[in-house]
Symmetry: C2
Subunit: 212 residues, 2 copies
Amino acid sequence: MPNPVSASADTPIVHVVDDDAPLAAALDSLFRSIGLQTRTYGSAQAFLEAKKPDLPGCLVLDVRLPGVSGLDFQAQLDEMGIGLPVILMTGHGDIPMSVRGMKAGAVDFLAKPFRDQDLLDAVSIAIERDRARRAAAESDADLQARYETLSPRERQVMALVVAGKMNKQVAWDLELSEITVKIHRGSAMRKMKARTLPDLVRMAGSLKIPAQ
Amino acid sequence: MPNPVSASADTPIVHVVDDDAPLAAALDSLFRSIGLQTRTYGSAQAFLEAKKPDLPGCLVLDVRLPGVSGLDFQAQLDEMGIGLPVILMTGHGDIPMSVRGMKAGAVDFLAKPFRDQDLLDAVSIAIERDRARRAAAESDADLQARYETLSPRERQVMALVVAGKMNKQVAWDLELSEITVKIHRGSAMRKMKARTLPDLVRMAGSLKIPAQ
DNA sequence: ACCCGGCTCATCCCATGGTATGGGGTGATG
DNA sequence: CATCACCCCATACCATGGGATGAGCCGGGT
């Protein structure tokens, strides 16, 4: 039988990292009440060790944690390439702390006590941001994967073609015959699944291949 | 005779908006001491009415101002399209205030008293950011200006060409002869100063002309 | 009335792009 | 050794791009 407030399917996940168990439990039920999955962790370490499902979500993080500071942890996550949007909470914070958190890209920084609604708003923004991030990352990974199937020559040719050079010029630059360039160019188009040259140019742009 | 700490040429400008005159004067001399120009204003209104030289710079803004709040003023500047990076200062601030300021894009939010060096660091970041912003805006305006010289037909053709359609298909879409398409295409290339099709595609990208 | 710019089209000609067919060489790998 | 991926090239053929020349139609401004 379906849940009254549907959950557990592919609904977003809120990860709560807070060593204050009662508070974590309260947050958990708050999020569940609006149909979000939650996971709670007593420490940064616990969060890192847990395996996270491949779903959009966000991280609600207390600044005061056992071991590392929440702010340091935030920076650490960044270096590790975990792009999960972060919402920071604190009981005893000051302005420099909040500024540092926001500079590091936090979605919000909430001083306790805060209204439930403020947190829910922040979470909803964070999740939306994560959705966009994941979508961008995915299409980027797709593109990157295709690009990696190109042979070295094909990449060179692609770069020059995308820079606007004619086959003839590419041939001269790479000391090849024009016919060979045409062939590499064709394979590159096929492998990149680019129907037209403008498509290829845009792909090169997304891949940050320098224009010229 | 040149100044000891070179200024007044095309050096960046720090705009200080603060109704505390002694403090403004102190900031003024602080910034001049490192070779920056400064302008001080007693109110948001005074800043808006002043004519600002066309130079990179930033805005140092006290949150508590006569009339509007600094935060509201910040939002107002945004709506007016004044992209000058903002640094907020406050004597009596709290976390929500700083978070709001940072969310609105402030470079930094400093609680008084702060160290001179913190402000100088923020200013230097802000000016660098403004430089980048201005450069981007300028090249964008250039492009936009060229785009505006295109006739309506030329724009239609350009859009379809950039979307990867062949002249033939463009002709069919617009119910034109292929020859006419070629001509519009040629003019578009010339007017946009695009040497090659990839160039045109990138320009269209910067102009945010939808790809297909 | 005239000119000019935008829009349209045709025919001709040539450069360029793109693919197919067929050939040969290398080096890594099973 | 056989195979495969990558690299190189030629000839041929056709589609496409792009410019020159010449032309007609409109509407707005001098």
